[in-house]
């Protein structure tokens, strides 16, 4: 476990792999997952690379596997999840795999083709069966109806023919009617009917009836609903039209014998054939099932193997071929501390492949900036993700993540402070932490759940810290708890209270001098529970929380500035320590550090007797900037407001000194660094003889580039312009930074007041929820209150979870995030690096479900 404080030291390495050993070595490196390969042939497109053939074969295998997977899922066969991680197979195993897959695929295709043909056959027979059965009904009805109709009307077109000879398709006589019977999709019936009527001008007679049971479409396997229809018509011309319309509507027509006896015989034949087909179909299904069950056992392992082979060949494509074609040359980034492990796995790979020449790993020097690699575990990775979401750290700069582990949940809890909500949150997260292996093996899908599960350790800590701040605020679901005994006592009678403050009416006011029992010290931990019942609770707590926000904010910003000093020293930029770090610390300390001191002074120094006449911090701060002080010693008797009083006697001169010192820091930050840089450049410029200009240029630019990221612009002037120092750019850059810092200190301090605002909002919201829901459930003074309490408690608990824990928690989380990203990190964090993405099978396979 490396240090999280800075990212790992990286080095660029050159890798010589013997052709035969290359595959095994890369496979070992993939299992290790500690090297990031660089593409050495960026100009070569994907089709011209060396191992394009192998990759194509892998693609083909993947296609077959996906096909098998689809078939397995279609049949609802469970896929075995062993969690096994097979080694990448040897290249020669690939041929076996290919053969197996091909055989399986052919078998599956054959089975599918056969079963589709069988099913089509079965469908046709079933439809025919239904036609015979339904048309029989039509004919029977006709027979029954025909007699009375015939008596009524002799000229009837339909009935005579039916009753006399039965239906006939090929009758020549004009009185004889033909018919066709078939099956059509049920939803097409209305359109079909209308079309027939219009095209044949009402001269055909359509009967249809629904087939109750759904039929299976052999091609798609979906269930479809169909109807049987029969159409009677007269004459060949109409017959042609009817047939064409049937074709157009994709209706299937079946031959239907004219006489009842023939129909009955046909029905018998159809039934026997259906029975035969069913047995054959059953056997085919059994066979298919057996094949798929066998495949399902292995399919995940096959997927893994093929993925690994493909990844290895992808990586090998990034390599260069040696002139002798005997060895592959690759370049990779790897952490310096792990070089031995990498060498070891290279040796193992060479031995496995049986190659005679060992693989060689050489460190290279490079001017390129290495990637940023922080070694994290399951606890720290969530915090690292929070930091990386803002920007990946520059190579080897101070990483805020280890500090975030504590400050993030703490600032969250300052806004979320409630013992009850903290307990709920901590228990939920504790469950996730406790059952993490079980939950991970379940592989629950869903982005929201994934995010919460990934941050389970953060949420757990946030819950614990909220419990702590909840005790400090003495707030449990907007109620307070009296653990140590409140220090406020009502030892006077009601009449004394009223006598003490006659104008208050019947409101009882407690006097800190008379009613505060101070013998055993103040309430030992947190806010005295008596405040929860007080009318002026909010103004008391606001004052406390606002001061606390400023104190926490100034502390965190100061800490950020101190971290910037670590960066300056580490990168050897001593000029920044003197021209940026020191004036920054002075600036912050003189303005808001002093305010923090005054806050503590005011808390400690004023007793209950003089607290009514303490000077105001805010007005004092404003007057400090305006150099406005009362000339005469304050005499509050003649109406001078107490809040303008001074804290101590030398306040005017000391505060003026602080403001002037802070103001002096501004030009210090602004001017000295560009000036020193100019002097250095000039000295270097003069000390080198003219003929060495090109060489000197590199020297002169060195410090400039190291000092500010802006060196790139300077470089653009090229070698010939080496005697030109870009004063304008340097000064503008410095001015922007100075202004940003000075304004930032003021606005960021104000920004930390969100700690107070959110915490106030949270406390008020939970109080509102209690009064609106929970208090109402106690309103019935009898046993009738039980059902009310039962249901309202459920509603209250649900709303507490949804609004106070989930929504308020989210909002406090976002504000804590902002305080870290902006107010804390802008003091020291560059965030311009790029992440280390090692070639690793495990991370590749974890990412796999996303693109499936």
């Amino acid at each position: 476990m490396g240090s999280l404080f800075r990212s790992q030291e990286m080095t660029l390495c050159q890798l010589f792999l013997q052709s035969e050993a290359a595959y095994a070595c890369v496979s070992e490196l993939g299992e290790l997952g500690l090297v990031q390969f660089r593409d050495l042939n960026p100009d070569v497109n994907a089709f011209q690379r060396k191992f394009v053939n192998e990759i194509r074969r892998c693609d083909e295998m993947e296609r077959i596997l996906r096909f098998l997977d689809k078939e397995v899922r279609k049949d609802g066969i469970p896929i075995l999840e062993t969690g096994e991680n097979p080694e990448a197979p040897q290249p020669r195993e690939m041929i076996d795999l290919e053969a197996t897959f091909e055989k399986l695929e052919n078998e599956m295709r054959e089975i599918n083709a056969n079963s589709e043909a069988l099913k089509r056959n079965y469908l046709e027979l079933t439809e025919l069966k239904h036609i015979l059965r339904k048309t029989q009904n039509f004919f029977d009805e006709m027979q029954h109806d025909s007699n009375p109709i015939r008596q009524d009307e002799d000229a009837n077109l339909l009935q005579p023919s039916l009753s006399a000879e039965g239906p006939s398709e090929v009758h020549a006589s004009s009185l004889k009617l033909g018919f066709v019977a078939g099956v059509i999709l049920r939803e097409r019936i209305p359109a079909f009917e209308r079309m027939l009527w219009r095209v044949c001008r009402g001269n055909v007679f359509l009967r249809h009836t629904e087939i109750e049971s759904p039929l299976e479409d052999p091609h798609t396997g979906n269930e479809v609903f169909k109807s049987v229809f029969i159409i009677f018509f007269q004459g060949d011309q109409l017959k042609n039209r009817v047939r064409k319309i049937c074709e157009a509507f994709r209706a299937t027509l079946y031959p239907c014998p004219e006489t009842p006896t023939e129909r009955r015989e046909m029905a018998f034949g159809v039934m026997t054939r259906i029975e035969d087909l069913t047995t054959v179909l059953g056997q085919t299904q059994d066979h298919r099932h057996r094949v798929l069950v066998a495949a399902a056992k292995n399919i995940n392992i096959w997927f893994l193997k093929v993925h690994k082979i493909k990844a290895i060949y992808h990586t090998l494509n990034l390599f260069n071929l040696d002139v002798t074609q005997k060895c592959l040359i690759g370049e990779c980034w790897c952490p310096v501390v792990d070089l031995d492990r990498i060498r070891l796995s290279l040796r193992r790979g060479t031995e496995l492949s049986g190659a005679a020449v060992p693989s060689i790993l050489n460190r290279m020097d490079t001017a390129e900036v290495p990637p940023t690699y922080n070694k994290t575990n399951k606890f720290t990775s969530a915090y690292q993700n929070i930091v990386d979401a803002y920007g990946v750290a520059n190579y080897r700069e101070v990483n805020p993540a280890p500090f975030t582990v504590i400050t993030f949940p703490f600032l969250f809890a300052v806004m979320f402070g409630d013992l009850g909500h903290g307990l709920v949150m901590a228990f939920l997260a504790l469950f996730l932490v406790w059952k993490e292996n079980w939950i991970m093996s379940r592989k629950i899908e869903g982005e929201i759940f994934g995010t919460i599960f990934g941050g389970r350790y953060i949420i757990f800590l946030m819950g614990l810290f909220s419990i702590y701040t909840g005790i400090i605020y003495n707030d449990v679901f907007s109620k307070s708890i009296n653990i140590f005994g409140s220090r406020w006592t009502a030892n006077r009678s009601v009449y004394d209270f009223q006598h003490h403050h006659p104008k208050e009416g019947d409101a009882f006011q407690m006097d800190p001098i008379l009613d505060y029992r101070n013998t055993s010290g103040p309430y030992p931990f947190g806010i005295d529970p008596a405040w929860m019942l007080a009318d002026n609770k909010i103004s008391f707590i606001n004052s406390f929380k606002m001061k606390m926000s400023v104190i926490l904010g100034v502390m965190q910003m100061m800490f950020g500035i101190v971290l910037s000093c670590f960066n300056h020293v580490f990168f050897g930029r001593m000029i920044n320590v003197f021209c940026e770090f020191i004036p920054q610390v002075l600036f912050l300390a003189c303005l808001f550090g002093y305010l923090v001191v005054l806050i503590f002074y005011k808390w400690v120094n004023f007793t209950a007797y003089e607290s009514g006449c303490a000077p105001s911090l805010l007005i004092g701060l404003i007057n400090m900037f305006l150099f406005k002080y009362q000339d005469n010693p304050p005499n509050n008797k003649d109406g001078t407001p107490c809040l303008l009083n001074q804290f101590y006697s030398a306040q005017k001169s000391f505060q003026s000194f602080l403001v002037l010192l802070a103001l002096f820091c501004v030009p210090w930050m602004l001017c000295i660094k560009p000036f020193i840089m100019y002097r250095r450049w000039k000295a270097a410029h003069n000390s080198v003889p003219l003929h060495n200009v090109v060489d000197e240029n590199g020297h002169a630019e060195g410090p400039v580039k190291a000092d500010h990221a802006h060196g790139g612009g300077h470089d653009d002037h090229g070698g010939g312009n080496g005697d030109h120092f870009d004063t304008g750019n340097v000064i503008i850059y410095q001015a922007i930074h100075t202004i940003e810092f000075c304004l930032g200190i003021i606005s960021n301090t104000a920004s930390y007041l969100r700690l107070w605002a959110l915490s106030l909002a949270h406390a008020q919201l939970s109080e509102v929820l209690w009064t609106m829901v929970m208090k109402f459930s106690f309103s019935i003074n009898g046993w009738g209150g039980i059902p009310l309490l039962f249901f309202l408690f459920m509603a209250w608990a649900g709303l507490t979870l949804a609004i106070l824990v989930a929504m308020e928690g989210m909002s406090a989380f976002l504000h804590a995030l902002r305080l870290h990203w902006v107010e804390f990190q802008n003091k020291f964090y560059g965030g311009q690096g790029y992440p280390f993405q090692p070639f690793s099978f495990s991370s590749m396979l974890d990412a796999k479900p996303a693109d499936d």
């Binding site: 708890i481 309103s779 019935i780 003074n781 039980i786 309490l789 408690f793 608990a797 649900g798």
Partner: protein, 97 residues
């Protein structure tokens, strides 16, 4: 008994009833000892508060009993949810095999 709610609902029921049992039992105890902090929650008018202390006492008692009975109902709900949860979990291996 038959299964009539799914895994999510039964989990929800378990969490809700555990919470309910703990909180209502504690609140019952607090009402029983006549906690000052709950004085605004008891439905007693201000005149009664000053003139009839016995009314306040009985109101506190009543709410304490209500809370405890409710906690008892939540115990029943917990048993029901746990039984449903058990039914939900149990057949899983057979389906998978």
């Amino acid at each position: 008994m038959k299964r009539f709610c799914g895994p999510t609902l039964s989990t929800c029921g378990i969490i809700m009833s555990v919470w309910g049992i703990i909180q209502l039992a504690i609140m019952g105890a607090l009402f029983h000892v006549r906690s000052v902090n709950l004085v605004e929650d008891v439905s007693v008018s201000e005149e009664d508060f000053a003139l009839h202390p016995d009314l306040v006492d009985s109101a506190y008692k009543q709410q304490a009993y209500n809370c405890w009975v409710c906690a008892g109902i939540y115990v029943l709900l917990l048993a029901l949810s746990a039984q449903q949860m058990w039914l939900n979990i149990k057949p899983k291996p057979y389906i998978a095999a």
